[in-house]
Amino acid sequence: MGVVGVIGELMITVGVLVLLFLAWQLWWTDVVADRAQAAIVHDLQWQAPPDVTVPVAEKRTDDPPVEPTPQLGSVWATLYVPRFGDDYVRPVAEGVDKETVLDKLGVGRYPETQMPGQLGNFAIAGHRTTFGKPFTHIEKLKKGDAVVVRTATTWYVYKVTSHLIVYPDQVGVLSPVPDESTSVSAAPDDLSKRFLTMTSCHPRYWALQRYVVHGELAYWAPVSSGVPEELAGVDVSLGSGS
């Protein structure tokens, strides 16, 4: 066996290793993360909303209750997006660190933004590919689509208003009044709206840019009052230990 033969074998080996890495990244990370995130939601052991056969929760537009700021890396909410499927539910954790939150726990909240229901901007990030890809269908969201956040006690029902594609330095999308033209997070004195911002990578598999979806709070409801009508047909018993 000559030197050329060994080089040939090494090149084939490298090729196989690259294919194996792609299989791991594009398939295995999803298998592991989907399983982990489903287990997290299941283990929340939250109280189920009453009588899920009557999917109507009281719609309230007064000042919503605001959760205390969670600890970094803790799971404190679940996310329902009917456009992503009736079985779609993901954990929402505190922080957007890739390794500890987005790769393992699912969706993460930008800690410098507001909590759900607060005046300002509740901003979350999630993978579009790999690691369970909670925002893989983010481009399917249309104006008016519901994005529902549930904490232990409260539903926050946001409606999508717009989407845009930005570069990663356009952090103005996270501002209390989102403004992609700025790269600083500036807060005006008088906030009047409750925004939602979702960010994920764009284009898929390349991620030079970010896909951003904005929404506004439509209403909130206590979990004890039922299930938001937007979630009719969605299995909301997940996470309630059933």
């Binding site: 074998e9 791991w24 957007v96 996270l174």
Partner: protein
């Protein structure tokens, strides 16, 4: 390289095939468990956040 591995493995041909399969399985398991997670942060293609 692989010819040398074949010569080093003990037993008849059918046993060598089984040994190779086991070895390949161990290598893939080690790659999936330790190697790939370690190099993934340095591979471009994901990035979900702004800022």
């Amino acid at each position: 390289m692989y010819a040398a591995l074949w010569r080093v493995l003990p037993g008849p041909a059918w046993l060598k095939v089984i040994e190779l399969l086991v070895l390949a399985g161990l290598v893939v398991a080690a790659l999936f468990t330790w190697v790939f997670p370690a190099i993934e942060p340095f591979v471009p293609g994901t990035g979900q956040t702004v800022g």
